[in-house]
Amino acid sequence: MNTRAIKRKIRSVNNIKKITRAMEMVSASKLKKIQGKLMAIRPYSAKLQTIMDNLLTYLPPEAITHPLLKARSSEQLDVPPQRGEARPTKLGGEFPEQRTGRKKNIVAVVMSSDKGLCGGYNANLLKTAGRFVAEQNETDIKIMALGRKSNDYFKKQELEIMASHTQLSTEINFRTVKKMMGPVLASYETRALDEVWLVYSEFVNPMIQKPRVTRFLPMLTAAEIEKRRASASEKEDQPKLDLPYGYLFEPDPKVILDLIVPRYIEVRFYSIVLEAMASEHGARMMAMRNATKNAEEVIDNLTLTFNKARQASITGELLDIVGGAEAMK
């Protein structure tokens, strides 16, 4: 390679380095923004959590009736949905599929990014999601895609995509996420859906993201509520006031619980969406940092080659001159 070609190459790698560095900075600032939002909901969600824990532990089981909270037993799966149009039924007033027990309807919310250039973030996540979907032989699974990558992936697999939301910006707020979740919660309440699962990347730290699959709804199964109660009655050292549940409830505990449950679910969903976004920006930041480092390495190597080539050409020229002078003698 001649020196000019090497010089041109160094310049182009240098330009790439500038771009990757800028992208790293952008991702870092986006990550910071999302982390700020995560911090901002913390007091709200912590408070909701405490009130709900108390209510779930001390309310009598028959008062826990909110459709989003109540665990469905297996018999309930055989009950037709409350609204006829939720699922097609055969004519004649019969529900033939119910006698054998219909398949469970579940939805998986897969949170990927819109854009690439973030290392293995999408690949790892979609691999996990794909594995989860492949395991669902017994159920009818639908996808709710957050991010273009997950939408494209499941479209290719020819799965039913219930809804797709792309271009989530860092200006995301509670209200937009609440709107996204609305149809899912509504169809869960009418029993058109039996379970909601989330596939997202857990944000461990900016360098590490772990793909995760968790059941989102039903929030608690009957057994889990029972376990909670049992552990609460074991430890009686909790400070108790001379009031039922430690608080007065206005209008009454059940109404408050019904008010808390949807908010709790929405806040939880919102924080998971934020976490997925934080993971994305963390992954992109790291990918771009590595790219910048690699570019520096390439530049170092090229500079060395360039210097060698330059030296070689100088040596060659000198030899020519010396050789020429020698011949003149």
Binding site: Y44, I51, L243, E250, I256
Partner: protein, 134 residues
């Protein structure tokens, strides 16, 4: 007067945290005044005006529903939304107040009365909050 802590939080941000001497909460069954040392209770909120009285000034927020937790030493308002007087544009609030008023007074099948009333309520709350400031 004895002071207690007031904290107002929404899912998006912390709105206020500080010491006050009295709070008027827009509870679901009507406005409710709370002083220091109140018995602990939890109540639901309706869209309304939250007023906090400090040593010398009154503070107001337009609240859009939520929950409130009261303990003898602290009141926590978990609002779905909360607007400070500085964030409220009085002209816009008045404009939407008039519009909503007109809508609630005309009977038309296409008008969603609940929504119109909601808008009316919100506009009125904003105007009230703005006035507590002055």
């Amino acid at each position: 007067m004895k002071q207690f802590e007031l904290e107002i939080i929404t899912p998006d941000q912390s709105i206020f945290k500080g010491n006050v001497t009295k709070v008027v909460i827009p509870a679901h069954e009507g406005y409710l005044g709370v002083l220091a040392g109140h018995a602990p209770f939890i109540c639901s909120l309706q869209a309304g005006v939250l007023i906090a009285g400090g040593e010398s000034t009154n503070l107001g927020w337009a609240i859009g529903g939520g929950l409130a937790e009261v303990t003898p030493r602290k009141v926590t308002i978990m609002a779905d939304s909360a607007e400070k007087p500085e964030e409220i544009d009085l002209d816009r609030a008045e404009e939407s107040f008039r519009r909503a008023l007109k809508r609630t007074r005309t009977f038309h099948p296409e008008i969603d009365m609940a929504r119109a009333l909601g808008a009316f309520q919100r506009a009125e709350n904003r105007m009230k909050v703005k006035r507590t400031k002055e």
